[in-house]
Amino acid sequence: MKIQVEEINSTIKSVSKAKAKSIFLRDALRNGDKFTRFSFIIMGISNLVHGQIVKGLFFLFAEISFLVYMVTSGLEEIILLGSLGKIQQGWVYNETLGIDVLQDGDNSMLILLFGIFAVFAVIMFVLIWMTNIKSAIELQTLKSSAKKIPTFKEDIKEYLDGKLHNALMFLPLLGILAFTVLPLVFMILIAFTNYDSQHQPPGSLFTWVGLENFKTMLGIGSTISSTFWPILGWTLIWAVAATFSTYIGGILLALLINKKNVKIRAFWRTMFILSIAIPQFVTLLTMQTMLQDEGAMNVLLQEIGLISGPIHFLTDVTLARITVIIVNLWIGIPFTMLTVTGILMNIPKELYEAAKVDGANSVVIFFKITMPYILFITAPTLITAFIGNINNFNVIYLLTKGGPANLNYFQAGKTDLLVTWLYKLTTTGKEYSYASTIGIIVFILSVIFSLLLYRKTAAYKEEGDFS
């Protein structure tokens, strides 16, 4: 997480870079020759004139296709973004037929999706346009200093060397753009609309409502907000309990397995690792059936004679909450155990030897060397684990599906986390606007916690740099 500070610096730098960009364009217009200036309007002309046919044609083709796209649909799509459609689907009287006819309305969802796409297209085009001007200036300088202009082949070679990052990162970036960024922008924008179960296209329109969803969610009075606050509370309790219980349990287990007198260590370790090696949907679904009222756990306890009636592991509110935390121990402890085992092996031997020379006994060594060392190395992983637990979908959803259900809640149950509520609102409730609002709130939570914890651990590190 060291990156974060660097990142803030780099953001500041990129702002000053943006200024440099506008100066570069002005210079190009002032000092450029006629081809460079022409390139502002007709892309690639400079390349074509100087013999870089393929590159020039690429720029020209990009410009033409962009213009065609803009004129035929793009421009309209961007304009429609303002209202998200006006014509509602409905029955309209058709004079020639003399009856009411179903008229197709605007589809707000598609308008938003295509609109975002169009905006992305514009951004892409601007980037290509800038590259085109840069290339024109480059050609101009090459020509004025009488150097050889690179052929297409040499250009390609350059992409395997100096510009390798462009070639290697193109596809990965495209993937991220198409399947992460675009959908995310879409969903973030949805949070500012009223796209809920009452406003489902194509039957009806939805439109911008500003911060209305956040007000409903965070305010008081509505069912939504009286669901949100308790679920937020439970999410935080869960995240704290799950993170620290598995953390402590994992450290203890690792210490136990790594005791000097333990035989067949690898065997014991494998026994515990099996629970994370097997796909979670298998183990958790098995647990879920075992913990039913008539499931194996209750049957076993009854056969032994410990209980007379079934224990409601997953249907009683308090018990269900305890059950999910305990089952999470089953999955989480081996994870921590794995990490800590690695760390234990890396503790420098000199530390122990020095302590022994100073006459420290094993208890002192444990509390003064082993524990601080483990804490020091694993503290940053706590942040990741905490945020991971806020977003822990599998354990909750596969075990309880968020239940036991609560009628006072808005489509949620007593063990629902914010993310499982989000999932339910999206898949079964079709309350997209609220789901997106929750998504943004979870994002803000994660940011706040990682910044807070990051500062804490950074301070801790500076205080006692362990070396």
């Binding site: 060291k2 990156i3 660097e6 990142e7 780099s10 870079k17 969802m109 999706l113 395997l160 390798l164 990052h165 290697l168 990162m169 596809l171 990965p172 993937g175 991220i176 399947f179 992460t180 959908p183 995310l184 879409f186 136990l256 005791k259 007198n261 014991w268 494998t270 026994m271 690792i273 099996l274 629970s275 090696a277 097997i278 796909p279 949907f281 298998v282 679904l285 098995t286 647990m287 879920q288 059936t289 008539e294 194996a296 049957v299 089953w330 794995l338 990490t339 690695g342 694993t378 992983t381 977003n391 596969l398 993310v419 989000l422 997106s436 998504g439 979870v442 994002f443 940011v447 990682s450």
Partner: protein
Amino acid sequence: MKIRKLLDFSLTHILLFVLSIIWIAPIIWVILISFRKEAGSFTPYFFPKALTLDNYIKLFTDTKQFYFIRWFGNTFFVAICSCILSTFYNLSTSYCLSRLRFRIRKPFMSFALVLGMFPGFMSMIAVYYTLKGIGISQSLIALILVYSGGAGLGFYIAKGFFDTIPKALDESALIDGATKFQIFYKIILPLSKPIMVFTVLTSFMAPWMDYIFASVIMGDNYDNYTVAIGLTKMLDREFINTFYTQFAAGAVLVSIPIAILFIIMQKYYVEGISDGSVKG
């Protein structure tokens, strides 16, 4: 003193034994159920009365309601394709961020950090509609694209590994006239076998375990189900009574290869976690 040592030794091992029984009990139980002769979901007794191989045989032969082999094939196909794409995406992004210096390097890294803080499946509906827009929703290609699409963002571990390879190697190669691409695949990649294995295996395992995206993208298209959503479907209220033991059999069959893969690469996994979080 000797007695104390012996006591300590036996207590430690008894504790370990009890704990590992708790840990593997559910696993033993699924295996037991997968061989259980009695059908139905719940029985009023703990240990099965009779054992059989029928559940496994039925899983492969009885394809009327659920087509398990097909799901297995689907998942395998998706896993292979997305693992090739993801590995390529992941390693090339990591190499660029570790070794090359270019303008969007830092912005991209902070961007990835921010993106990572949104709940992963918040955008699933938008992904679904985008795929529908292209006309490939409910298809295996859609799954491949979605699983590999974000691979470029998971660069932390591989980048951390590349960072530890001495820069002097690159420099001497540069002097010998190698291009940066040649450095990538002739020097860095051969030195990074552990991390390549790790990347390949993690991306290969993902489709076997993902439930959320697969269920949203596939909807009710049973033919294109992956094992994770297919087996989960078997536990739905209307199917659980008939298919419970077959679910267990399927679960065992899927778990064996995945568990073996995981145990093979646990070492890298640990390195990945601690490196990734310390170096960021």
